[in-house]
């Protein structure tokens, strides 16, 4: 799929939903868990609040704040009129002008109140149109897939760096900052880097000032973004030798992950992937740990644009199709070992899920 084909699909969706003008809004706070319809439409990662106004049969307008960032937007959002603005809501109202018909809005639930409340006042009749944008972005474009592959390559190099530099006496923050900086030198413009360590981690969490110690289990979700496309690897390493028990538990997670990867195929519901992961763990007596509060999902979509196909969870009935990119990670709290991370980004192909990584997750032991 190309970007132009995606835009055509979005326009087709507008017609099907009887939307005459689509407004996509994003407040500029980029986050792995929140979709960005402006990025889907304009391929532009904004510094501030931004919007796209797309008539069903006319030229789209990309509204950019701050106004001085408009030229950068023009480099990526080819085919759109670029409007630099000091205020995104005023820019939207001006771009809509006196256009008649039904207005649909995408991105409103995630926009900051200061923007969303004014927008709903300015467009009181507008209906939610998130599905119009994100249904068409459930599968990635060829460019996004290429970017996901590059982001994965950077993630794997980042992990190698972690294995080289992590040592007792270093703080979690210090390690996280170093890895984030290093992946930037490799071309990642952002990195969702969850990293923590401990004798028995209750979860994976953002780093803090804790000083790592010999014997710690270090867990990391390394998630670089390359040209706005995230990819993630989930890894676990020990500072010093790992116990036989930990190795055995980790191999169980790897088996669960491989079962999930094996279950992902075109036409299968996402829930089937989650069930396959859970089945391996349930067979070993960990059934109670396969559900909240211990675990909510076994993976997720990857933004920054669309986060479809959504979570790898039992309640996600989304039918998988070719071109979807998502995480499969049976990250799991086990009573004997604490929280362990194990996961790969995959591309769904006609033959099934293709891990984008060169090396699949394996428990690493850092010599100290």
């Amino acid at each position: 799929m190309t970007h132009d084909e995606r835009l055509a699909a979005i326009r087709a969706g507008m017609i099907a939903r009887k939307v005459d003008t689509l407004v996509a809004i994003h407040d500029g706070a980029h986050f792995i868990e929140t979709p960005n319809p402006v990025f889907v439409l304009g391929r532009f990662k904004s510094l501030g609040p931004a919007a796209v106004v797309l008539p069903k049969d006319g030229e789209a307008t990309l509204i950019v704040t701050p106004a001085w960032d408009a030229e950068r937007a023009a480099e990526t959002a080819s085919g759109m009129r670029i409007a630099g603005a000091d205020d995104v809501v005023n820019g939207i109202v001006a771009a809509i002008g006196d256009a008649k018909g039904i207005v649909g809005i995408a991105g409103l639930p995630f926009a900051a109140w200061g923007i969303a409340s004014r927008l709903t006042q300015a467009l009181p009749q507008a209906a939610a149109a998130d599905d119009v944008v994100f249904d068409a972005a459930a599968a990635k474009t060829a460019d996004e897939i290429a970017n996901a592959r590059e982001a994965t390559r950077i993630a794997e190099l980042g992990y190698q760096r972690l294995l080289e530099v992590a040592r007792p006496g270093m703080s979690e923050d210090e390690l996280a900052v170093e890895l984030r900086w290093y992946t930037k030198t490799l071309g990642a413009e952002d990195n969702f880097l969850l990293l923590c360590a401990g004798a028995r981690n209750p979860a994976v969490a953002p780093s803090n000032g804790r000083i790592m110690q010999a014997g710690d289990t270090l867990v990391a979700e390394i998630t670089p973004s390359y040209r706005g496309q995230l990819a993630q690897i989930c890894r676990t390493a020990t500072l010093g030798p790992a116990s036989a028990d930990l190795k055995q538990k980790y191999s169980l997670l790897v088996r669960a992950m491989n079962a999930g990867i094996g279950a992902a195929s075109p036409g299968a519901p996402m829930a089937a992937v989650c069930r396959a992961v859970n089945a391996v763990l349930e067979a070993e007596g960990y059934g109670e740990y396969c559900h909240p509060p211990h675990i909510r999902r076994r993976g997720h979509g990857l933004g920054f644009g669309s986060i479809r196909p959504g979570d790898v969870s039992l309640d996600n009935g989304t039918a998988l199709r070719e071109g979807m990119v998502f995480m499969i990670h049976p990250n799991q709290h086990l009573p004997e070992a604490g929280y362990l991370l194990c996961g790969e980004p995959v591309l769904l192909t006609a033959d099934g899920a293709e891990p984008l990584t060169q090396q699949r997750s394996a428990l690493a032991e850092i010599a100290i």
Binding site: I32, D69, W113, D173, V177, K184, G187, A203, S225
Partner: protein, 414 residues
Amino acid sequence: MHTMQSTLLVGPADWDATRMPKDEFLARTVALWRIAPAAAGVIVYGDRAHHAELAYLTHFTPKLEAALALIPRVGAPRLLVGGGAGMMQAARPLTFITGVQPLRNAGATVAQWIREQSGGGRPVLIGRPYMPHALHQEIAGALGTIADKTADLAALMRRKSPREAAAIGEACASLDAAVTAMRQAQRSGAGVTATVLAGEHAAHKRGAQDVRTLFSLDGGRTLRPFEASVEGAIDPLQVYVAVRQHGYWAEGFAVVTASSNPYVRGANEILLYAIKMIAPGRRCGHIARETNEAIAPLRSHTLTQHVMGNAIGLALEEHPLIAADSTDVFEAGGVYSLRVGLSDARERTCFAVAKEILADKGLSDDSYAAAEKTMGLESLVALVATVGSFSMTCLTAATFRIDPPAANPTPLAE
């Protein structure tokens, strides 16, 4: 200044009682009741992108998911942090508040909390402008209309304590270290990305909590965030650097260059002139207008022409803004960031004209009129002739595949 927001904050943000004792936070809370005298409690929202108010009252920086602080008039505050129960262990070192709990069912939780407060007053909200629409709907659904006091708290935050000033001083030192490292990297032949990242690394090595950079690929005309690696070197390289340390920001523009630049000298002189004018009680608008007059006959850069500065602290941009139409005044104890950018209208016009005639095979009436006004007809003719001559050289070299001599590489290769 706008910078690119990160999806997750990773820098050091633990609460350090020796740097910012609990008593300082408690004094801030006491002041809080002056702006909300009838409130039973205060609900404070913060997320990765906007959390200055939350940090001011709790020290907490939400690295991952949003947080709500519930501060009662009587009793201990609570901090509700997004994420599961397992995440709380990582959150606790970031605040002096001992009651750190997962943020779940926000509407029902805050409604229950306010019922538990004595006095029966209404709560007030801080941080509403940044709150996601859906979360606000949930809280408003549970509590009804709720007054927002974000601007009132911002007024309390303007005057920095000695400890706050010290933290900003530390951020300034890291900012200096970043720019120094950039200059060293450029001198050693590093490309744009390597130069900028050398600066970021230097600030991180000094313990910076966050470092944001923008740089220019077109001689300072526009600035951009890091999007992809740029291998080639540029001299002069215009950069913007913002460094956060111990919670507090410092920012600055710098021109990284091996040679002396008259525009940089001019900008520095005007900046010093503006700083000398600042005094408690002086109007921000007055300083902005006087500075703009000092810039003439050059023009203020696009990035600085409307707003040439602002207060700075826990947020990169705090109020007041230093803009020509501002009626706010400078305050004793306030910390401000001033930005002076110069733009040569003739040089900018050359770029715009060259770009347009090459892309559109001619100039629009508006562009022609603007160019003639700025440059005069004679210079405009010379500019068009120069663009034509350069294009002919390029077309010849490209058609006949003539490479520049190895000993004389083209300065426009990048």
